[in-house]
């Protein structure tokens, strides 16, 4: 009988910890629902399914960005990092400093409310809150920035409580070695703290300026992009940690490459992520040409940790499955628990990451920035990552966490098992149309892409496809939300053994590593080919433009 750290550990948590986690998840799901609603309305408006006053359109777009990019991702990360710290740290079995965690949640909720409400009371600033857009009395924008600042205080406390929890056994004298998951959780919590500090750095000065307590903001863009970059990769790192956890839960498979190697890979996020933020700024005239070249070169390494974790998981799975009799290049995958909705969600999250990741690599090349940077290519590819990869993975973990802390059964597992396909189908339509639109120059953040009949006809057609894709994605995600809320708010509270609706397999085997494991390396090869194809399209389009552009100087 293999160990079930997650399922058993969740139920062994003190009732107070489970109550806290439940509330964090309730608020996270509320923010996901609100963000989904605003995102769907934004896409439908863009597709021309209905009309809206432009101001309301930009308010919806701002709400979507603020709610999903900041609050859904921060709340759910808060809940999951606290949970993993308490459950996976040997010898602790609870949260250390729970009152601080409640304080953190209170700060984040207050920040959430302030950020959202102020969006209705002023010219929408989008999620990045560029202070240069503030006109007239700056008090309301000041409250918007205050919301972000308070949220970051909460985020800082979440990171601190998680690290305190992982360190508690060591301080108590019972020195327990950290598991890979605990180690990765500490790295995750550390990056949350770094993100919170970067958040103070970005939002505190404009808040003080808006309240008349500080000077005008001169270089907002650079500070914002440091935070923005961190916020990109933090959820991605969390995603691969969750894959690591779930694969062990669902199959009993652990890395065949050893704990030490996994720890090094998770730690490498701290090395590879921070220096690569420059690629968000390739169109910024402040950046000299040599810096752009260096930025492109550094960015090549951004995917290394994620690809390595993927390889560790896939090659370990294949190795275990072959030792258990799995055959064929892909046939061994039949041994995986495909009736488990979490397994399906993780598998499609991997696929979506491959698609989104290969598209994103077009944008790390500075020479292609003038072609694509501010076009619909960007939302076209990043929804594969935010929804198709990160959100789908977090939901997969919630399918264990919610029954684990409430004792409620899984809601309609067969239906849940189909939702990742629905969401991926929607993403494929949304993403293909969006990326194609971007390649052909459709700007992002514009509601009337027809430009009064001046723009090519196919632009509007692309946006209709984007709207259809968004509708399919929304149906899938809304069904997930309904199921998760049903599971969360039920009132059973009975001990939750491993739910039979979430079938697992035990691939534990005695002799590992002697069989080939080709799927991981081959899929990396496919990824490189896909990246190359998308990049070639970019270069060829760039060269087809009947324009010669040189120089890039600027002055203050």
């Amino acid at each position: 009988m293999r160990e079930d750290t997650l399922v058993d550990g969740l139920w062994r948590l003190p009732a107070g910890d489970r109550r806290l986690l439940k509330w964090v998840i309730v608020i996270a799901l509320f923010s996901l629902g609100l963000g989904l609603l605003c995102g769907a309305l934004t896409a439908f408006r863009r597709a021309g399914f209905f009309t809206l006053h432009p101001g309301l359109g930009y308010t919806l777009l701002s709400l979507h960005g603020v709610t999903i990019f900041f609050y859904w991702l921060y709340f759910i990360q808060a809940g999951l990092v606290l949970m993993l710290a308490a459950v996976y740290t040997k010898g602790v079995g609870r949260l250390v400093g729970r009152p601080l965690a409640w304080l953190a949640l209170a700060c984040m909720v207050a920040g959430f409310a302030l950020s959202e409400l102020t969006l209705f009371m002023n010219v929408p600033l989008l999620y990045d809150g560029n202070p240069r857009l503030v006109v007239g009395d700056a008090t309301i924008p000041g409250l918007f920035y205050l919301g972000y600042v308070i949220t970051n205080i909460g985020l800082f406390l979440v990171g601190a409580v998680s690290i305190m929890t992982t360190l508690a056994p060591k301080f108590a004298g019972s020195v327990e070695p950290w598991s890979t998951v605990t180690f990765a959780t500490v790295a995750w919590a550390g990056l949350l703290i770094v993100s919170a500090m970067a958040g103070f750095n970005v939002f505190l000065p404009p808040m003080l300026w808006a309240f008349g307590l500080g000077p005008p903001i001169v270089d907002y863009g650079m500070q914002w992009h440091v935070l923005f970059h961190n916020m990109h990769y933090l959820p991605l790192m969390a995603t691969v940690i969750v894959w690591y956890v779930l694969i062990e839960v669902m199959t009993g498979v652990r890395s065949i490459f050893g704990t030490q190697f996994s720890k090094i890979v998770f730690a490498s996020y701290l090395i590879f992520v921070p220096p690569t933020f420059l690629y968000h700024m390739f169109l910024d005239p402040n950046l000299s040409e040599p810096v752009k070249v260096i930025g492109s070169l550094l960015s090549l390494f951004i995917a290394v940790p994620t690809v390595l974790v993927y390889l560790i998981i896939t090659s370990s799975l294949e190795s275990y499955a072959r030792a258990r009799g799995g055959t064929g290049l892909f046939g061994w995958m039949r041994l995986l628990p495909w009736r488990n909705p979490a397994m399906t969600a993780v598998a499609l999250a991997v696929l979506n990451l491959a698609i989104g990741g290969s598209l994103s690599f077009v944008l790390i090349q500075g020479k292609l920035a003038p072609l694509l940077s501010d076009t619909f290519f960007v939302p076209g590819y990043f929804h594969f990552l935010t929804l198709g990869t990160v959100t789908l993975t977090f939901i997969a973990l919630l399918l264990y966490v919610i029954p684990g802390i409430t004792g409620n059964p899984i809601w309609r597992p067969q239906l849940l098992n189909r939702l990742p396909y629905v969401i991926t189908l929607g993403l494929l339509i949304f993403g293909s149309a969006g990326v194609l639109a971007g390649y052909t120059g459709v700007p992002r953040r514009v509601f009337d892409v027809g430009y009064g009949g001046e723009a090519p006809d196919w632009w509007e057609l692309m946006m209709v496809l984007v709207g259809i894709g968004a509708a399919i994605m929304s149906v899938g995600l809304a069904t997930y939300l309904y199921g998760l809320v049903r599971m969360l708010l039920g009132r059973r509270y009975a001990p939750a053994p491993e739910p039979s609706a979430m079938p697992v397999v035990d691939l534990g085997a005695a002799e590992l590593g002697h069989h080939p494991a080709w799927v991981g390396p081959l899929s990396v090869l496919v990824l490189i080919v896909a990246m190359s194809v998308f990049t070639i399209i970019g270069f060829e389009l760039m060269q087809s433009v009947p324009l010669t552009a040189t120089g890039g100087g600027h002055a203050h």
Partner: protein, 195 residues
């Protein structure tokens, strides 16, 4: 004891993990990155070779001064239909085929909520124009549309961006703002007519 298969060795998957770096080779083929320690001239739109970053015209030009230059530019070159057509130098240097080979012709343009000024430019093909663009109220962008692809420039507020652009084919090329600049962002557009 059988040795582990190649694909399950640590060194092999580490090597594969760094595989994405292979994209460098493709970039090098397109001349987008240096391929040796010697200085390279990377490929630019239209297959032209970049001539290097030009120095900014004036490192401390205030917005008011720039707007005065734009007004002077517009007043000097405005046509009857309201469009602006910067004239080539009277004694423009040409090669034996009659193509312009002189210094780039100056073009001044402001980006502001929610238009470009001048909003319609009439230019000649195969003539280099030195665009000097400044956003005067909030950040803006300028995406020149070529019906199938676009070329984008970002214009942060109070910075003068300088680009030398040479249009190789005649046509009407709309300009759309690509940086959200307020509620009228959708409406912000201009046009370049190349004759």
């Amino acid at each position: 004891m059988r040795p582990p298969h190649l694909t399950t060795r640590l060194g092999f998957i580490t090597f594969c993990g760094f595989g994405v770096v292979a994209l460098y080779g493709l970039w090098a083929i397109y001349g987008a990155v240096p391929t040796s320690l010697r200085a390279q001239k990377p490929l630019m739109p239209g297959g032209a070779m970049e001539m290097g970053v030009r120095d900014a015209m004036d490192s401390h030009m205030p917005v008011e001064e720039f707007q005065r230059l734009v007004k002077e530019f517009v007043d000097t070159h405005m046509l009857a239909d309201g469009s602006v057509s910067p004239a080539l130098p009277e004694r423009a240097a040409t090669n034996i085929l009659g193509a312009y080979i002189g210094e780039p012709v100056d073009v001044f343009m402001t980006a502001r909520q929610y238009n470009y000024w001048p909003s319609v430019l009439r230019l000649e093909r195969n003539v280099p124009y030195r665009f000097r663009i400044m956003a005067v109220d909030t950040d803006h962008g300028a995406s020149i549309q070529f019906k199938g692809a676009a070329y984008m420039i970002r214009a942060p507020v109070d910075h003068m961006v300088e680009k030398v652009l040479l249009f190789k084919e005649p046509g009407e090329y709309p300009i759309y703002c690509t940086v959200y600049c307020g509620l009228g962002h959708d409406l912000m557009k201009g046009k370049i007519v190349v004759e």
